[in-house]
């Protein structure tokens, strides 16, 4: 078409699907929390708390009810009195400060009785299929006591302390998708409110956030009937924490089609924005967003040396970008692509990914439709086409898995780690291969190695031989062949890095996944364990007039 700029290609998977890059992903307006609140605002959902039955020790139950245009969901919360010595964020914990489930509809008394017998047990629970999620949370002891003390004294908590911790309670698991008898995702996937990924989980966490404030205010009132309540501004600055370990890491490897759809949506959004002409108003908007991102970076705390360095790099990048934006005007550019080219050539990965998120922010009307493409029918790519030829498989590997073929899989450093599942609560763990005899228990989480092994075995096979013949002789290659098939038309499905290398950082996997949730304040506690904050800055259920503003992810 005349005058139409050439379509800007997406960034290459070989760039964005590297672990180092994924460990710098930032939440965007396409993140699942943002999607949920936009929908709830547009559809005028109503949220209330029909039950609060909690005693003076903080033990009892509460219900939070979310009513949409067609259906109602209820968070059932059980508050417990947990001794400090039992408080652990690990999956091997057996008791928590509070436990939750999201009920499909409104529970009857009989439902509540049944749930009270199951939900507090968490992994030992047998849920019914009427429940969509199962979750629990522990107090941030330091901040929780401080807030209760201050409110009981009729005062507001210390702003600085509140901002530093960022939450009163942190969830240590949010189970969904059929775990422990919960409803399968397929059973609810055709409901518009659950069309996007993790919407039931996001709703659960958002309602839990309201509970965390209610329970603190309740305990303050127990001590003093005239206790203060949290001021709305301070309250909004509290999110829900989340403490997450390796359990989440394999997800990115075991759901390649879904991951492709998330990342392809984000990359497509960037490409669309890069094609847009620049106006002076747009530039002014971006300058304000950069200022807020700079403040966000200042408030982002971590003691982990790797994360401290990343935050410093990002601060440096944001300062440079800010300075550059001050001297340019819209006259300098035709389209946003020119800004992006400067960003790519001048900033590091942390800065680039943060700016990407900022660039998407003003352009909801040309990118928000991409949200609809972020779920996946994962069964569609399961069947193996056994008539595919060896030559076709080899060509795909040579084209897309050069990184795997170039890895020396016999080197000790290349296969230093192994993923396994522990008998204890089936916790996913990572071991040093040479130090623990766990190889018989190894999980299939090193696709590069499996695909390189397949390639090596195919070297002498005739090009026109159907792969089914190979698979009958060597069924061990079935995992790799299926994976290759899943990758067709899904260029962002595979992490192009060695996931069992000696220097692999599981926190990179965690950050990539959590960024799509919309998590902020990524704070690693080790190379494989992280704390984050969810919904910090977001409106509360009783502030529906603010839900649709959709501008809460960066501090104002």
């Amino acid at each position: 078409m005349d005058g139409q700029p050439p379509k800007i290609p997406l960034r290459s998977p070989s760039e964005v699907m590297r672990l180092g890059r994924m460990g710098s992903y930032h939440p965007t307006r396409l993140s699942f929390m943002r999607q949920m609140l936009r929908r709830m605002a547009a559809e005028a959902w109503q949220v209330d708390r029909p039950l609060w039955d909690v005693d003076t020790h903080g033990v009892g139950r509460a219900l939070y009810r979310a009513r949409g245009p067609e259906r109602t969901y209820t968070l059932v919360a059980f508050a417990h009195d947990l001794p400090d010595h039992l408080r652990s964020d690990r999956v091997i914990a057996e008791a928590w400060d509070a436990t939750f489930t999201l009920f499909d509809g409104e529970p009857t008394q009989a439902d509540l009785q049944r749930l009270e017998g199951q939900v507090p047990g968490q992994e030992t629970a047998r849920m019914s299929g009427r429940e969509l999620t199962l979750s629990r949370a522990n107090r941030s002891v330091r901040l929780f006591s401080h807030v209760v003390d201050r409110l009981a004294n009729g005062e507001q908590p210390d702003t600085r302390m509140l901002s530093d911790v960022g939450y009163l309670m942190r969830t240590t698991a949010v189970y969904g998708s059929g775990k422990f008898g919960l409803s399968d995702r397929e059973a609810i996937a055709d409901r518009p409110e659950f069309a996007s990924p993790f919407q039931a989980e996001m709703l659960t966490v958002w309602l839990i956030r309201a509970f965390t404030v209610d329970i603190a205010e309740h305990l303050a009132r127990v001590r003093n009937p005239d206790a203060a309540t949290l001021s709305p501004d301070l309250r909004r600055n509290l999110g829900v924490g989340n403490s997450t370990g390796l359990g989440m890491a394999p997800f990115l490897l075991t759901h390649p089609v879904l991951i492709n759809n998330w990342i392809e949506a984000k990359e497509t959004a960037l490409a669309r924005v890069r094609e847009r002409p620049i106006t002076e108003d747009d530039l002014a908007h971006l300058r304000r967003l950069v200022g807020r991102a700079i403040r966000n970076a200042e408030e982002w705390r971590s003691d982990h040396p790797l994360q401290v360095e990343k935050i410093q790099n990002m601060q440096h990048d944001l300062a440079a970008f800010d300075e550059w934006l001050r001297v340019v005007t819209a006259d300098h550019f035709a389209v946003w692509d020119e800004v992006w080219i400067w960003v790519e050539s001048s900033l590091g990965p942390e800065g680039q990914e943060q700016v990407l998120a900022l660039l998407l922010e003003p352009f909801g009307e040309i990118i928000d439709d991409l949200c609809a493409s972020m779920s996946a029918d994962e069964t569609a790519a399961f069947d193996i086409d056994g008539m595919r030829t060896v030559g076709s498989i080899r060509a795909q590997i040579e084209c897309d898995y050069r990184w795997a073929l170039d890895t020396d899989w016999n080197a000790l450093t290349a296969k230093a780690r192994l993923w396994y599942t522990s008998t204890e609560k089936l916790e996913p763990r990572l071991a040093e291969r040479a130090e623990e005899p766990l190889e018989p228990y190894e999980q299939p989480l090193a696709p590069g190695r499996e695909i390189a092994a397949l390639y090596s075995d195919l070297c002498d096979a005739p090009s026109d031989q159907p792969i089914a013949v190979t698979l009958q002789a060597v069924p061990e290659h079935r995992y790799a062949v299926r994976r290759l098939q899943q990758m067709i038309n899904h260029p962002f499905g595979e992490i192009q890095d060695n996931t069992i290398a000696h220097d692999m950082l599981p926190i990179d996997l965690l950050r990539a996944k959590l960024s799509f949730f919309g998590a902020t304040r990524f704070d690693p506690r080790s190379d494989r364990w992280v704390r984050i904050t969810m919904f910090q800055g977001a409106p509360f259920p009783n502030e529906p007039e603010l839900w649709g503003l959709d501008d809460w992810m960066l501090p104002h």
Partner: protein
């Protein structure tokens, strides 16, 4: 006790791995039981027997895979196997390109009382006639959200699945998950 299809699939996959199948084959076993369970057919019971029967001459999973991969029913023709129900999901997959047609709703299932014969024949118009041991009549699955596994089959699947879990050691408990030392902060 109710189970989700996702759980049934995951448990069966692990059980198949525990029984010694490669991961890619184990995934097929999990998928097949999910498929059968979604029709209300006793897939878990049939599959666990197959997984335990390590000395069988013909493995219905391998046979099913061969049929599904090649879209060719002939390897299954006239073969005698135990628990032929396990073959059914793979036959359905072999039908995907319309070369073979299985009319689920119209399918009449004959029960062979002696229980071990499967006879797959291509009839006119590509309609498949399946003889198998299970007595259930196939219906189009509607998502019921509640599926059951008989206790016996469940325990046997769990026993096999357990073989894929590493015994916990103090070292792995501390370092393997990488958590911090205290959460009382």
């Amino acid at each position: 006790m109710s189970w989700s299809l996702g759980e049934i699939q995951a448990l069966t996959t692990k059980a198949a791995r525990g029984a010694g199948h490669p991961w890619g084959v184990a995934e097929e076993a999990g998928w097949a039981v999910r498929w059968l369970s979604s029709f209300g057919l006793p897939g878990a019971e049939a599959m666990v027997s197959v997984l335990e029967d390590v000395g069988a001459k013909t493995c219905p999973i391998s046979l099913g895979i061969a049929v599904a991969d090649t879209q060719n029913l002939s390897p299954a023709n006239g073969v005698k196997i135990s628990h032929p129900l396990v073959l059914l999901p793979f036959l359905s997959r072999a039908a995907r390109d319309g070369q073979i047609q299985i009319r689920i709703q119209d399918l009449v299932i004959h029960v062979a009382r002696n229980g071990t014969d499967l006879n797959v024949t291509l009839l006119d118009h590509g309609i498949l006639n399946v003889l198998m041991t299970a007595g259930a009549r196939l219906r189009t699955p509607e998502f019921s959200r509640v599926y059951s596994i008989p206790k016996d089959a469940l325990l046997r699947l769990e026993r096999l699945a357990h073989l894929t879990y590493a015994p916990a050691t103090e070292a792995s408990r501390i370092s393997g998950a990488g958590a911090g030392l205290t959460d009382n902060d």
